[in-house]
Amino acid sequence: MAKLNINGRVRDANVPNDTPLLWFIREQVGLTGTKYGCGVAQCGACSVHINGEVQRSCSIRVGDIKATDKIVTIEGLSATTSHPVQQAWAALDVPQCGYCQSGQIMAAAALLAKTKKPTDSDIDQAMTNICRCGTYQRIRAAVHLAAEGRSALNRASKARS
């Protein structure tokens, strides 16, 4: 039986090895912030971090994950919705329906972990998640805002409260 470390907690994966990580997270672990959108790694709604890399959990088999791999879902990104990306998203009112935003936030957080000040081109390359409401313009602005740091975030939050 595989063992999975999700948000710092190790769990037994009592499912067939070919079960997608997404459905293990949603149906066995019960964390529903990670979304099903396409099942074929196209839309990114199911994005999670595995050892700091953003991955599409719908297309990763539970059996291919090692017990030492550290999986982080949207619920584990921060304890109090305080990650700079989450704060920037709030400051600019990025979400519309919100369904894809867990994945968008996880993709943005992974980008900023590697690239402190991403350019528009960096964002274009890294942010390939689909949003049907069309929040792309605000996502771009929010990634830049998150990259600017705490003081910019605080200013932006106050500007529109």
């Binding site: 459905w23 519309q96 329906c97 369904y99 867990s102 936030i105 949003c131 409401c133 929040t135």
Partner: protein, 732 residues
């Protein structure tokens, strides 16, 4: 209502008020509902006191504003709350909302009115009565304070939920007078005066959405996330060919697969597998041998459909026409004739949250958890399909992961879920469609073609215009009563002569605009912007061709035809000005412009594009101007405009649902490609509200996105684009 001036005005009994208000036909919900103010309702509002059906006030001054319409990202929840809070004069920082359920609305004789959320009507159709609800609650709260202090209510003022009596320096919060206010009779509707938008402090401001926090940390529960004790999960496959039937299946082959509980035939065309988890159900369904009776539609394809629709461009019979003067004669005698034929494809909605519905049926009760744009239609479908009376049914509200017109009246997935749940009495069953099922069984944006002919005189003036639309009718599929005497006005949306909703912005002396109905076997339905999408492309791309044939500037040519339509013209001018029309662009960039009307609002756009020598299109910047009458939250209007660009541009670049062997073939995002952030242009929104009407916001602007871009492409390449999507077209 004289007595109310000094309080103790309980002369009109609640019941009497209800009767008189209903008899007067005023239909003011807050009066009509009073008899139904039960303890159960008060409990649901927490510790608060219900002032009227729209407003509950808690002891800590928190104001709970009730919301009837669905929230699917469009911001209606926040906008409606702003309107109520504005009239209530409460503290916006202490506002929270409570979503109403259709069972509760029904039990209260629909006191909260229509719950349907489509046609960009969430705010414009309910703004009057929700504002009145807020104002009436304010009047009652002020009266209660005046009574407490034994002063005339005219001496009492309120600011952010704090009632003040200036002369005696007394003040008190709404929370402390709520209980007394609730005991007062509601004010005479005739005495309710709504604020002038000029005085708005909460409405009209770019306030943040009330529903963002839970969307940032995974805690928001969409219907697809619902977890109930003992819940089972179902996966479903409907006949791939529309109109086909389920012939047979071999249940034994999958019966022993992990978690599988049952295989359920769903009506005559679909098969579902129920298992402990959805992944088990889907895995088993994929392994289940199924034989379909594909029926006569299996011979249909994109090619046969295109031929069928093309024939409608020249057919004798039409199904609706708007006629002025003699267009055909004008064209026959034209100095110069302009002709073009256009086409647009079927499109799916592709909401990010796939269709799903969780149903629990007991002997005498039915419950449903579902993403729906029409809670009451969901309730009706639940009752009809389960056989359980309406008053024993309830729908639990969940904000939708996208709607775009897909989840209104049809309720197909709700009906399926009920059929499945009938096999498991007392056990909740969650049906989730796979993305492939969602793409295969949409109610698609109707396919159509357009043949357009125009007459120019020797000076390049437009003297006649003939537009023939041929395509599928939404009404014929979903609302046959909407086709009257064989005529279907809805397909001519945006060409109507009548003002206010989807009026044509041009005056052409001789004009004939016709529609020929060509219904295929593919289900069709409303898709964000509905027929203004196709009609906007046809009208505005053709107008561009006419202007160029006349040798005139695209903007000036349009302006000359719009003198009788000042609102259309003002919006076009606003887009042109902010879009720097006529000013130089960086080398290789070109501009396009378009205007059109839908959903009671006026829209125009400019687009700046470049086309590489290899034919690769880039849209750099778009400016969209909108007059929606009243602007309730400018920042959320901008968000909707930005979203309409993404939805509209995605369709322009990639959107197509081809048909082969009678079925849809683009079944996931690998083939039904969706625009990503890299292709998102910079969008600037210009809101020019005139405050003399209430228009929609969610849908209006999408109809100018595609034509503005296509007209810019025309400017860049010198060649008009006449069919969509662009991915199928060689631009250079």
């Amino acid at each position: 209502m004289k007595k109310m001036i000094f309080g103790n005005a309980a002369k009109i009994s609640r019941r009497k008020f209800m009767v008189s208000s209903a008899a007067a036909g005023g239909g003011l919900a807050l009066g009509m509902n009073l008899p139904f103010l039960s303890d159960a309702h008060a409990q649901r509002a927490g510790t608060g006191t219900e002032i009227n059906i729209w407003v509950v006030v808690r002891p800590n001054d928190t104001c709970v504003i009730r919301i009837a319409r669905s929230e699917m990202g469009q911001g209606t929840l926040t906008g409606l709350a702003q309107l109520v809070a504005e009239e209530l004069d409460c503290d916006w920082k202490k506002v929270t909302t409570e979503g109403l359920t259709p069972g509760r609305n029904l039990a209260s004789k629909r006191a909260w009115g229509n719950m349907s959320t489509g046609g960009s009507q969430g705010i414009r159709q309910s703004q009057d009565y929700v504002r009145r609800g807020g104002a009436a609650a304010r009047m009652m709260l002020l009266q209660a304070a005046a009574d407490l202090w034994q002063v005339p209510v005219a001496e009492v003022t309120v600011d952010k939920g704090i009632v003040k009596h200036g002369p005696t320096f007394r003040q008190i919060g709404y929370g402390k007078v709520a209980a007394a206010a609730a005991k007062l009779p509601p004010p005479d509707p005739k005495t309710i005066k709504l604020k002038d938008p000029k005085d708005w402090k909460i409405a009209g401001k770019p306030l943040k959405r009330l529903d963002t926090a839970a969307k940032l940390n995974g805690s928001k529960i969409y219907a697809i996330d619902v977890k109930l004790p003992g819940m089972l999960n179902a996966a479903i496959k409907d006949s791939p060919v529309f109109g086909g039937k389920l012939k047979s299946f071999d249940e034994a082959k999958i019966a022993k697969m992990p978690g599988v509980k049952k295989v359920v035939r769903v009506k005559d065309s679909a098969i579902a597998v129920v298992a402990e988890t959805w992944w088990q159900a889907k895995t088993a369904l994929d392994a289940l041998p199924v034989v379909w009776d594909e029926g006569p539609n299996a011979s249909q394809s994109s090619a046969t459909i295109a031929e069928f629709i093309k024939a409608g461009l020249t057919s004798e019979q039409t199904n609706g026409e708007i006629k002025k003067g003699d267009a055909l004669a004008a064209i026959a005698g034209a100095a110069k004739k302009v002709e073009a034929t256009y086409s647009t494809p079927f499109l799916s909605h592709a909401c990010m949250e796939v269709n799903n519905a969780t149903v629990k049926l007991s002997a005498d009760m039915a419950e449903l958890w579902v993403p729906t744009q029409n809670l009451e239609a969901s309730l009706a479908a639940l009752s009809e399909e389960s056989g359980i009376p309406l008053n024993k049914c309830e729908v639990h509200r969940h904000d939708l992961g996208g709607g775009f017109g897909r989840r209104g009246g049809t309720q197909d997935y709700v009906r399926q879920a009920v059929v499945i749940a009938k096999e498991f009495p007392g056990t909740p069953v969650k049906l989730i469609w796979s993305r492939e099922e969602d793409q295969a069984h949409d109610f698609f944006r109707p396919i159509s073609q357009c043949k357009a002919t125009a007459a120019l005189d020797a000076q390049g003036n437009l003297t006649g215009m003939h537009i023939r639309l041929s395509g599928q009718s939404i009404n014929a599929w979903l609302n046959p009563a909407g086709v009257v005497n064989g005529k279907d006005r809805r397909q001519l949306q945006g060409f109507w002569e009548e003002p206010h909703d989807a009026q044509i912005g041009y005056t052409v002396a001789n004009s004939l605009i016709e529609y020929t109905m060509r219904n295929t076997h593919v289900p069709v339905g409303p898709w964000r912007g509905v027929n203004t999408n196709q009609n906007g492309v046809y009208m505005e791309c053709f107008m561009e061709e006419i202007a160029r044939a006349a040798g005139k500037d695209s903007l000036e040519f349009r302006r000359a035809l719009m003198k009788n339509h000042p609102k259309h013209l003002a919006v076009l001018n606003a887009a042109a000005e902010k879009g720097n029309w006529g000013k130089p662009l960086p080398a290789g960039q070109y501009r396009g412009i378009a205007q059109f009307m839908g959903y009671g609002s006026y829209s125009a756009a400019t687009a700046e594009v470049s086309v590489s020598p290899q034919g690769k299109l880039k849209v750099h910047r778009m400016v969209l101007a909108l007059n929606c009458g009243h602007a309730v939250n400018p920042d959320q209007i901008a968000a909707q405009v930005e979203g309409s660009v993404a939805y509209g541009l995605s369709a322009t670049l990639y959107g197509d649902c081809p048909v082969e062997k009678g079925r849809m073939t683009s079944l996931n995002f690998d083939s039904y490609e969706i625009m990503k952030i890299a292709e998102m242009p910079k969008v600037e929104t210009v809101i020019v509200p005139t405050y003399d009407f209430w228009g929609g916001v969610g849908e209006p602007t999408i109809c100018v996105v595609a034509p503005a871009v296509l007209n810019a492409v025309f400017a860049a390449t010198g060649k008009p684009v006449r069919s969509l999507p662009l991915k199928d077209i060689k631009l250079v």
